[in-house]
């Protein structure tokens, strides 16, 4: 059993935990945080799997993770800005399902 697979299992745990929070909580800030936790799980998975080489780890997934982190930051910032805008416009921080009411 490789040490990489220990991190892989943790990353799957993070991903699932984030998915749970994303489904269960309706507050948008929590949803944004949950998406970030899921993303961290994916990054951890990529970095862990990159170390399955003989010598130095595979640099390509590392570069992909750096790219991914920047994209995740951009998406989070935009999501937070949208959330604040929604709060200013409607006074709510949840998305309500019109058909349910």
């Amino acid at each position: 059993m490789n040490i990489a697979f220990f991190y892989v299992l943790i990353s799957i745990g993070l991903f699932t935990l984030g998915l749970y929070a994303l489904i269960v909580y309706s507050h948008l800030l929590r949803k944004i945080l949950a998406l970030n936790v899921m993303g961290s799980g994916v990054f951890l998975l990529l970095v862990a799997l990159a170390s399955r080489t003989k010598g130095a780890p595979d640099p390509v997934p590392h570069a992909m993770v750096i790219t991914g982190i920047v994209v995740a930051i951009s998406a989070t910032a935009l999501a937070l800005a949208l959330m604040l805008r929604l709060r200013d416009a409607s006074g709510r921080v949840e998305l309500t399902d019109e058909s349910m009411e």
Binding site: A50, T53, M64, I66, A77
Partner: protein, 237 residues
């Protein structure tokens, strides 16, 4: 009484829903774990290819080589994504500055002490990226940390810089990247195909511009809105 029953049912429903969700997610996690654990425990991936071509890239650090040379296209698009996110945030309107209490003595003093060092560390990370872990994104985020610290301690960019010079700093990284990419076509290569002799220098030029732009963009994203003329606040450094 009737109302009470209703809420009881909905609470019970919610408990059941969560129970079902936990079971489903456990199945998902087990499936994912099975899929990943059945991967071969040794897979060189593309590392062999990268190591064979590392001399061509102009840098020694393989991650930087992948980011700015072998997969420069990805990084160019990633810079665009960062910029687009800022455009999205700015298009939501300018921010109404909230009156914050003056920062405490500790934060004030700490930010004064730390910011010069953070800029120094950013420069170091940028330079060291050629042969060790580091690079434009790491340096840019350290620079952004300095900017966020300044914003938190009440510092605001003066009006003089919040117009054109701020925007210039924001697009500088993308601009330099695109100019270099197109210049490669003009001198006879392909898009982003650096000649071996200049690869190191070109990467450094792109990285310096990118670091500045990433730092300024991240601080602008943190600030949260287009700086309105008059009561302005942004960072440019």
């Amino acid at each position: 009484m009737n109302h009470l029953d209703k809420t009881d049912i909905s609470i019970q429903q919610r408990v059941w829903f969560r129970f079902l969700l936990v079971i489903l997610l456990s199945v998902l996690a087990a499936g994912l774990a099975y899929a990943v654990l059945s991967l071969p425990s040794e897979a060189p991936g593309l590392s062999v290819m990268v190591n064979e071509n590392i001399e061509v890239s102009g840098v020694i650090n393989p991650v930087t080589a992948v980011l700015l040379n072998f997969r420069g296209y990805d990084t160019l698009l990633e810079m665009s994504v960062l910029f687009l996110a800022l455009l999205g945030v700015w298009s939501l309107g300018s921010i109404t500055e909230q009156t914050e209490p003056a920062p405490g003595a500790v934060l004030d003093l700490l930010s004064r002490l730390l910011v010069p060092y953070l800029i120094l560390v950013a420069g170091y990370l940028l330079w060291v990226g050629a042969h060790a872990p580091g690079g434009a994104f790491q340096a840019g985020s350290v620079l952004a940390a300095a900017g966020v610290l300044l914003l938190l301690s009440g510092w605001r960019l003066s009006d003089r810089y919040s117009g054109l010079s701020l925007r210039f700093a924001l697009v500088l990284g993308l601009l330099v990247f695109i100019i270099v990419a197109l210049a490669m076509i003009i001198i006879g290569g392909r898009l982003l195909e650096y000649p071996q002799a200049f690869a190191g220098v070109l990467i450094l030029i792109i990285e310096v511009a990118a670091t500045l732009s990433i730092g300024v963009t991240l601080v602008s994203l943190f600030y949260g809105g287009r700086p309105s003329q008059g009561t302005t606040g942004e960072k440019k450094r």
